[in-house]
């Protein structure tokens, strides 16, 4: 399926970004192969979310290049709307459209951004909602759903555009603990189906389970990256060790 030959599906090369005087990304380089799942871990403010937002150009990169599916997206004249149709992103705060029903939320982008007919968009949206067990909530407004249900709707809203890459930005951080598992189950299913994904997460157990690669970010840099077993059992960098022991003490790793 890949259109870029043998190169990585996502290639981040030496990306830097500043918010004013504050450097939030510092020469970040990262490769994600097609069907690969990469988890970004690190403290809040380490640059995980910013890196994800740079990938679909919600944030501008000031230095370096990002290539997605063979297209350099940091060039000047890129069609951002076309790029974003290929990249789904799910946010910590769900960001469903509160004035639309669940079904309308899922149908909007396929209809307006891709020109899919109403009937087709609706039947596909209903099928997606059925897949996550929320078909009976199709005509409810988001504020009638639990946080976990809203987040699952946000995931299928992104999936309705049939993206080739999914970016998940701390999608369980705003959820009550008992609602986390239903969302993670859906992400696990996506990983199993071969979706290419980059996730920023604080769920270390989950990251270890689904990822091919873990990147530890610290102060806007990727300090250490490697397969989950290595990162979680024998991290090389003292900062990684320190972070993981702090997280483990907080009971975030099951």
């Amino acid at each position: 399926m890949s259109t870029n030959g043998n190169g990585p599906f996502v290639d981040v090369a030496g990306v830097s970004k500043w918010f004013g005087d504050l450097q939030v990304l510092d020469h970040v380089s990262l490769q994600v192969s097609e069907h690969g799942v990469v988890s970004l871990i690190g403290a809040s403010g380490s640059g995980k979310s910013t890196l994800l937002r740079c990938l679909n150009l919600l944030e501008r990169v000031e230095e370096g290049d990002i290539t997605v599916d063979g297209v350099c997206v940091t060039r000047e004249k890129i069609d951002v709307n076309a790029l974003r149709k290929k990249i789904g992103i799910v946010f910590q705060a769900y960001n469903l459209f509160p004035h639309m029903t669940v079904l309308q939320n899922v149908m909007l982008a396929p209809r307006k951004a891709r020109g899919v007919s109403r009937n087709e968009a609706e039947s596909r949206a209903r099928a997606l909602l059925q897949r996550i067990g929320l078909e009976e909530k199709a005509d409810e407004y988001p504020d009638r759903l639990s946080g976990g249900q809203q987040q699952r709707v946000a995931i299928v809203r992104a999936l309705a555009m049939e993206p080739k890459l999914m970016l998940l930005d701390e999608i369980t951080s705003a959820l009550d603990p008992q609602l986390v598992s239903e969302v993670l189950a859906l992400v696990r299913e996506l990983a199993d189906s071969g979706m290419t994904m980059i996730l920023a997460t604080h769920e270390m157990g989950f990251a270890r389970e689904v990822s091919d690669k873990i990147c530890f970010l610290d102060g806007g840099r990727i300090l250490e990256e490697g397969p989950p077993e290595q990162i979680f059992t024998e991290p090389r960098e003292p900062r990684t060790r320190e972070f993981l022991s702090r997280v483990l003490a907080g009971g975030r790793m099951q």
Partner: protein, 238 residues
């Protein structure tokens, strides 16, 4: 005591009140027509200006400046002055069709110009109150800037500003009487005529009653919407 009695009699004379009713009611039809047309125009034009004012990018800077100049000018100028400019200015300019309109039309133009400036600010506040994450969510799904405005931002913004919008419409309704200074025959000017002829003032009371009867349901409806929103927001907080 005698003076008070005289004043009361001059305003609250049931006989004269009843006599004035048909004339003033006929004039009030003109007010109703002016407010109906102006309100629809204001809703559309103000939204367009608010959107222009929020356009991103350096290229849109002249348009944004134009929108700001418009709202500054028409919010700052007393409506009666605008009415004179339009009502006496446009006919004198020999602009063909534009200079041959009725005073009622000039009144509608005045109301539309002035109230579009107010309502632009109302819309703008509404648009800015929609959280940036909504825009990010819409854009990241591949919707264009225009589609994001149309399907995600503006619908939410408009719902939020309905109470202040209705509030401005109460003002617009009453100002139909002010713009009639340029010569529109409507409720206020007809009650003035009636008063001149009869030497008393109940005709003004008739006009006041008509305006109040129109305003009260709108005010109660606004209260109802505000209360409903508060209920919903409280329900969400729990």
């Amino acid at each position: 005591m005698h003076a008070l009695h005289q004043v009361l009699h001059a305003f609250f004379n049931l006989h004269s009140f009843t006599l004035a009713m048909p004339d003033v009611w006929a004039g009030f039809q003109v007010n109703l027509r002016m407010m109906a047309v102006a309100e629809v125009l204001v809703l559309v034009i103000a939204l367009a200006i608010a959107i222009v004012r929020g356009l991103p990018g350096r290229g849109a800077k002249p348009l944004r400046a134009l929108a700001i100049a418009y709202t500054d000018f028409f919010r700052g100028t007393p409506i009666i002055i605008v009415a004179y400019f339009i009502g006496f200015g446009l006919p004198g300019l020999s602009l063909g069709y534009i200079s041959r309109q009725s005073f009622t039309t000039y009144g509608i133009i005045t109301l539309t110009l002035v109230y579009s400036a107010y309502v632009t600010e109302v819309y703008r506040a509404g648009i800015e109150s929609v959280h940036a994450s909504q825009r990010a969510a819409a854009r990241s799904l591949g919707l264009s800037y225009a589609q994001t405005m149309r399907y995600v931002i503006v619908p939410q913004a408009v719902r939020r500003v309905i109470p202040p919008l209705l509030n401005d419409f109460v003002g617009l309704q009453k100002d139909t009487a002010i713009v009639s200074v340029i010569g529109v025959t409507e409720a206020a000017s007809l009650s003035q005529q009636f008063s001149n002829t009869n030497g008393d003032f109940p005709s003004f009371l008739v006009a006041a009653v008509f305006f109040i009867l129109l305003t009260i349901p709108l005010a109660r409806f606004t209260d109802y919407l505000v209360a409903q929103r508060e209920r919903r927001e409280r329900a969400q907080a729990f």
